[in-house]
């Protein structure tokens, strides 16, 4: 489970500054449970975007955006609406946003931040990974996460250590920033690389105190819950 929260609408509308039309994608998996990107939130986002003067060409909620195969099959019936949009807004976790960005040849923007739960981050078949940084940067990097794709998690660009496109630290991995460069170039968005990034907010990257303490605390000191008395049907028979 990846827990996500919707970004502030001001941030979303700033991403769409130069775009007239947008297609909204939601996820019927964790994002629906999080209350950040299920069918209800997608409809609500459509209303807000329309009210803000944007042409919403279409919307779609897909079961599990973290699977690229499901992204492609889920969006198959919406190709014309997608093509008509200048950009795609995705309301889900960092993995789902990256999967949509990999599958759709359009500028893809994050509508949510993924919150660190301080636990196991799950396993996915695809190559996309989410850092749960709470400040999703995928708008600036063509939908490829610099925190997970770059071994050093650099946000200001490549370190210069790559050799023939491979990472200096892990030569079996592609240089994340070269992947980002190639993606942005393909989408005609190379000017995004000039964005001056602020230092990361590490307070948002840490699991929130209540999330860090509660599960462990609960394991060591199980909460005293009164078990409701249930009459045994066997007893009833006997009585």
């Amino acid at each position: 489970m990846l827990y996500s929260e919707q970004k502030h609408f001001d941030e979303i509308i700033a991403y769409l500054e130069k775009d007239k039309s947008v297609f909204v994608v939601g996820c019927d998996g964790c994002a629906q449970s999080s209350g950040s990107g299920g069918p209800k939130q997608v409809e609500e986002m459509k209303r807000k975007l329309t009210a803000a003067g944007k042409n919403v060409t279409g919307t779609k909620s897909v079961d599990f955006l973290c699977s690229k195969a499901l992204v492609k099959s889920g969006l198959r019936g919406k190709v014309d609406q997608l093509k008509a949009a200048d950009a795609v807004l995705v309301l889900t976790c960092g993995i789902g946003i990256q999967c949509v960005a990999a599958a759709v040849n359009k500028p893809v923007y994050p509508g949510c931040n993924t919150v660190n739960l301080g636990g196991i981050r799950g396993e996915w078949e695809g190559s996309e990974r989410c850092f749960e940084c709470g400040q999703c940067l995928l708008y600036h990097t063509g939908g490829i996460c610099p925190l997970t794709a770059c071994t050093k998690s650099l946000v200001s660009g490549s370190c210069g250590g790559a050799n023939k496109g491979k990472c200096e630290i892990s030569p079996d991995r592609d240089c994340g920033w070269e992947l980002i460069y190639t993606r942005l170039k393909e989408r005609g968005l190379l000017n995004r690389l000039n964005d001056m990034m602020k230092p990361l907010d590490h307070k948002k990257i840490m699991p929130r105190p209540e999330m860090m303490s509660t599960p462990r605390y609960a394991l060591e000191n199980p909460p005293k819950v009164e078990t409701p008395k249930v009459e045994s049907p066997v007893k009833e028979v006997k009585a």
Binding site: S158, G160, E178, Y181, M196, M197, K198
Partner: protein, 293 residues
């Protein structure tokens, strides 16, 4: 004349570098300062280079100031968070250190303490931006400082790239570093004047002084090692052959001659040379003489 006035007045500047010692015996540092002062404009003091633990660069740079050699304090983001970096920067200014070279830094996994935690709270660009804020009299959280520094900050850039993406990313990042306050650049070692000329044509528009990096070759094996292991270094085959052909007693001379020849070729294209004579600091005056500096 300080490095800043040298570069700002458009003069050709010469810098070299040395790493702090591993331990507390400072004899070698003092000796190097004596040899280099008055000869070079400034000396880089590295920051746990290649993630190998050394004595503090801040203290070594202070020894340079006391010994009359202007230091360029290298600062990486690997070992210190934004609080420690700002604190050391303020302390450095108080100790008379005026030049900072801002780097992201290698990962700890590459060094002699591979178990260490990498910090990377900031990176080269955000560190430059931090220095700019301190110069303006504020810390990163916009608190006002009582007394402010006036650092002259620089950064590094790689000349040789082996993919289009890598080359473009270097140029874009160079632009970002300038926006964040870099006033000069030192390059990774260059062994091909033609590629340096091409590079300089691309970055001319930035109008920011570039000092070309030169590492004298020690032997053919050293050159091959750098080609295989150091990103952004490409020693052409003819230079490796020259080193291999030199008889053992002439190798040092040949290495110095090659370095001097490169400096002579590239001097007209840029605003300075940065001589990284790894373990050969004492040879720097000899290299300079051979290059006619």
């Amino acid at each position: 004349m300080s490095l800043q006035s040298q570069l700002e007045s458009g003069k050709f500047a010469i810098t070299c570098e040395f790493g702090p010692i591993k331990g507390t015996d400072t004899h070698e540092i003092i000796e190097n300062i004596e040899i280099l002062k008055g000869k070079v404009d400034a000396a880089n003091v590295t920051d746990q280079q290649s993630s190998i633990l050394r004595m503090s660069g801040l203290v070594t740079a202070t020894l340079c100031v006391q010994g009359g050699l202007e230091p360029i304090l290298q600062m990486t983001c690997r070992d210190r968070n934004r609080i420690a970096l700002q604190s050391d920067l303020l302390g450095a200014w108080v100790m008379g250190i005026k030049n900072i070279l801002a780097l992201t830094g290698d990962m700890a996994a590459k060094g002699d303490h591979p178990q260490a935690k990498d910090v990377f709270d900031l990176d080269s660009v955000t560190l430059l931006n931090t220095i700019m804020r301190l110069n303006e009299g504020f810390d990163l959280s916009n608190n006002e400082l009582k007394g402010k520094p006036a650092f002259f900050s620089g950064a590094v850039v790689k000349v040789e790239s082996n993919t289009e993406a890598s080359e473009e990313l270097q140029i874009i990042k160079m632009q970002k570093k300038i926006t964040a306050g870099a006033k000069f650049f030192q390059t990774q070692a260059v062994y091909d004047a033609k590629s340096f000329e091409r590079f300089m044509k691309r970055v001319e528009k930035f109008k920011t002084p570039v000092m070309v990096g030169v590492i004298p070759l020690k032997n053919a094996g050293f050159a091959r090692f750098m080609n295989a292991n150091v990103a952004g270094i490409r020693v052409p085959d003819n230079l490796i052959q020259k080193m291999a052909d030199a008889p053992k007693e002439d190798r040092e001379k040949t290495g110095i001659q090659i370095a001097a020849g490169l400096i002579k070729q590239m001097k007209p294209m840029c605003q300075g040379v940065h001589i990284m004579a790894i373990g050969w600091q004492k040879k720097v005056p000899e290299i300079m003489a051979a290059a006619g500096l």
